[in-house]
């Protein structure tokens, strides 16, 4: 079954959707959308460094994404507005990454594959990395779920309950770095944030509890991955962007549904 590239692609997409759903909800709740973007953009620098030092791309992107997230965490609240800081760091990392890639001689790399993903070329090895990473992210968030939710609601409430919100922030940062590293092959650095935010946002009107929203986001993400791949196959369109398009259409649909619900 795994011999079929379409089956491998679908499994990869579903794996990424699985990890992105609970993490994406926190990204939406905590208004970290730009943070996710910055971390993802930094990953291209990770790709360049991995190739330069012939390391695994997965490890390289994860390390750079983690460093980026930590730098942002440390620098935030020191003089610059968050969006300015993220704008500077995200695009600098992307630019330096692109320049660094051009220095690498010998290996010809397909930059487009890293910018927009190359889901149809997912190998069995990639698949195990994606599912391993996704399982790790979901386990991590599941383990810290109540503490994460409490710190998201109010930091002082967390302190009063014996939870350190800074530690929980670190948990999310690590989960984000892992997700970026596993999703790069599937949707590419430019669209990773979309996989985090769009399914969660689409799930919001359908949910009454945080858990419900995470599960619904997961279902929407998986559905988008499978439908998007199918559409890409039939219409001969790029796979990663097609997945994001389906998620975006779902967002539109649930938003309209919510609007209709309010009118009644």
């Amino acid at each position: 079954m795994l011999d079929d590239f379409m089956v491998r692609a679908a499994l990869a997409g579903v794996g990424v959707a699985f990890a992105s759903a609970p993490l994406g909800c926190f990204v939406v709740w905590r208004r970290m959308a730009y943070f996710g973007d910055a971390t993802a953009h930094a990953a291209i620098l990770g790709v360049a460094l991995s190739l330069a030092f012939s390391m695994s791309v997965f490890v390289g992107t994860m390390v750079v994404a983690l460093l980026m997230a930590l730098i942002v965490s440390v620098l935030s609240g020191r003089g610059y507005a968050m969006d300015t800081l993220l704008g500077v760091l995200a695009h600098s990392a992307l630019a330096f990454g692109l320049v660094a890639v051009s220095f690498i001689s010998g290996v010809r790399i397909d930059l487009m594959a890293y910018l927009f993903g190359d889901i149809l070329a997912v190998s069995r090895g990639d698949l195990s990395v994606i599912w391993g990473g996704a399982a790790l992210v979901v386990a991590l968030i599941g383990w810290r779920w109540s503490a994460l939710l409490t710190s998201t609601l109010n930091e002082d409430l967390a302190y009063a309950s014996g939870i350190n919100p800074k530690r929980e922030q670190l948990v999310l940062t690590i989960a984000l770095a892992i997700t970026v590293a596993v999703a790069i092959k599937v949707v590419g650095v430019l669209l990773i944030a979309a996989m985090l935010i769009i399914p969660a946002a689409a799930a919001r009107p359908l949910s009454r509890t945080p858990e419900g929203m995470a599960i619904t986001a997961g279902l929407i993400g998986m559905l988008s991955a499978i439908t998007g791949l199918r559409a890409a196959y039939v219409l001969d369109t790029p796979a990663g962007p097609s997945i994001v398009c389906v998620a975006a259409i779902t967002f539109l649909a649930t938003s309209i549904l919510k609007g209709l619900g309010h009118q009644r």
Partner: protein, 249 residues
């Protein structure tokens, strides 16, 4: 023995000292109110007690196995986060349906169990926060200007609820209040804070203390002065309006 004992506590943000050598105690079942102008370190003191900020010097000693219920100043629930009241109350873990029922009844809002948090009115929301603080059956309730944004009637009935809770559960209460007239009726003890403890004692003693008068101005004395002060402190103490909001962000 005291529930909490704050000893020689100093807190500094950058180069600015917001609390210097503050000491206080809270005994079982008493209601203690902290008053003070904006920027006097009230919120910082409470945050130091719950461990959200590290003091420069001094320490906070808690009675062994002390359970604290904390009601924050305000809590902004993002529209994007769907959560019902009962799910919110279950967050600490190990909470049963009976616990939720008990806490909501104590807080005076048993009917809100299934409501969405983002749909509540200001008054209802503060009651739910109170229920959340009560759910662990605390020995000490900490309230940080819990009635901010409520109208006169809303805050009066909120503080009445606090007294009822104290009667029913016997927990002690340490609260910050801007509404100084409340101090007169609901507190056993008042601590007047302005970076340091200016004066403390029963509400009547504090209201007539010269240190208190110096901070809050002289009026006709008693409750009326306290009450009046509430309406003009914004002008009198405009120069103090910096630290407080920063400290709570």
């Amino acid at each position: 023995m005291s529930l909490i004992q704050v000893e020689d506590l100093s807190v500094r943000y950058g180069a600015r000292t917001v609390l210097s050598r503050v000491s206080l105690r809270v005994e079982p079942s008493e209601i203690v109110t902290i008053v003070g102008p904006n920027g006097s370190g009230k919120t910082s003191l409470l945050r130091a007690i719950i461990g959200a900020i590290k003091p420069l010097q001094g320490r906070v000693v808690q009675a062994s196995s002390l359970k604290i219920g904390y009601v924050p100043q305000k809590l902004h629930i993002d529209e994007t986060l769907p959560i019902t009241v009962s799910r919110f109350l279950k967050l600490p873990g190990g909470v049963t349906a009976a616990d939720i029922d008990y806490a909501l009844t104590q807080a005076g809002v048993p009917e809100l169990e299934k409501a969405q948090l983002s749909q509540l009115s200001g008054g209802q929301f503060q009651r739910v926060l109170l229920a959340r603080a009560l759910i662990g059956k605390p020995d000490l309730l900490l309230l940080d200007e819990a009635t901010q944004g409520l109208d006169q009637r809303g805050s009066a009935s909120f503080y009445q609820q606090i007294e009822t809770v104290r009667q029913n559960t016997g927990c002690a209460v340490l609260m910050i209040s801007h509404e100084l007239h409340v101090v007169m009726s609901a507190s056993d003890r008042v601590i007047c804070l302005n970076g340091h403890v200016c004066c403390e004692g029963t509400p009547a003693v504090v209201a007539s203390a010269p240190e208190y008068r110096a901070l809050f101005g002289t009026g006709t004395g008693g409750a009326l002065a306290l009450y009046r002060h509430e309406h003009d402190h914004g002008h009198d103490h405009a120069d103090h309006c910096h630290d407080h909001t920063e400290a709570t962000e």
